[in-house]
Amino acid sequence: MLPIIGALVVLVGAAFMVLAAIGIIRMPDPYNRIQAGTKASTLGVVLALIGLGIYEIDLLPKLIVIALFVLITNPLSSHALARAAHAAGVPLADETVRDELAAARAPKVIEEETAS
């Protein structure tokens, strides 16, 4: 029974990773791609690891630790990518409603220019 449950959990995880891949192709700009890609894949990877742990119960503690590492590091890397993209001036998609970060940054640029 356990192997079947484990296999099903892995299957659900794989389905989320497929959705992440579709999201990366369909989304209009890097920020939305990060949204679709890194996060659906976080859940996908965690489910795949846990499913494998259910399938092979001896491995479960190790796989839980690995899943925790993914849960801690994945948002950090997507944050770093998004922040770097914004700092490098990667434009947001046309659909974008507003960008309060650019608004918050703009006065500083003027200050720096007048200071130099």
Binding site: F16, L19, I22, G23, R26, M27, P28, D29, Y31, N32, I34, Q35, A36, K39, A40, T42, L43, D58, P61, K62, V65, L71, I72, N74, P75, L76, S78, H79, A82, R83, H86, L92, A93, E95, T96, V97, R98, D99, E100, L101, A102, A104
Partner: protein
């Protein structure tokens, strides 16, 4: 010079790091064999000595039963939030018209501890639909895939408040 540096190391966090690393090692080798444990203890001591610096008091977490209980409740809340939001994201990705209204909004946090803010920013990023782009003081800049509120207070309530409720108790 080196003695000055080592005297700055915080003994409590050094010990906590060492124990945590050793526990990880034992989980990974999967045995209490004496040789393995000794090797792990030595390596964990080296790594924790190199990685632990002077520890400002504001990074420290005080453990209490209430905080541990809240932490468990928070993990459950986070798991549900991640799962529900992933389903919403799946619906967006699969819908033919790709119904998104992306934008970067500004939210405020009441959390004071830097560790609490780190966990909050990570939690916001983990729940799909919202992505922490930058943090400045008590303001978070969040890329939101479906901006459906017009003012900062409403956005704060919708994105941050659910997590904050738990994190305020855990990290103070």
């Amino acid at each position: 010079m080196s003695s000055r540096l080592s005297s700055q190391k915080d003994v409590g966090s050094l010990l906590a790091n060492w124990l945590g690393l050793l526990a990880l090692w034992i989980i990974f080798v999967g045995t209490f064999d004496t040789q393995e444990v000794i090797a792990g203890a030595v390596v964990a001591a080296l790594v924790s000595f190199m990685a632990t610096g002077p520890n400002p008091a504001r990074w420290q977490v005080v453990l209490s039963p209430r905080r541990l209980f809240t932490l468990l409740a928070y993990l459950g809340y986070l798991a549900v939030a991640i799962f529900r939001a992933n389903l919403q994201m799946a619906a967006i990705v699969l819908s033919p018209e790709l119904a998104i209204r992306p934008g970067i909004v500004r939210v405020r946090t009441r959390l004071k501890s830097p560790l609490g803010r780190l966990v909050l920013a990570n939690s916001i990023t983990l729940t799909p639909g919202t992505l922490s782009v930058d943090v400045e003081g008590d303001e978070f800049f969040i890329h939101w895939i479906n901006v459906d509120s017009e003012d900062a207070d409403d956005a704060t309530r919708r994105i941050v408040s659910g997590f904050e409720h738990y994190l305020e108790i855990i990290f103070g």
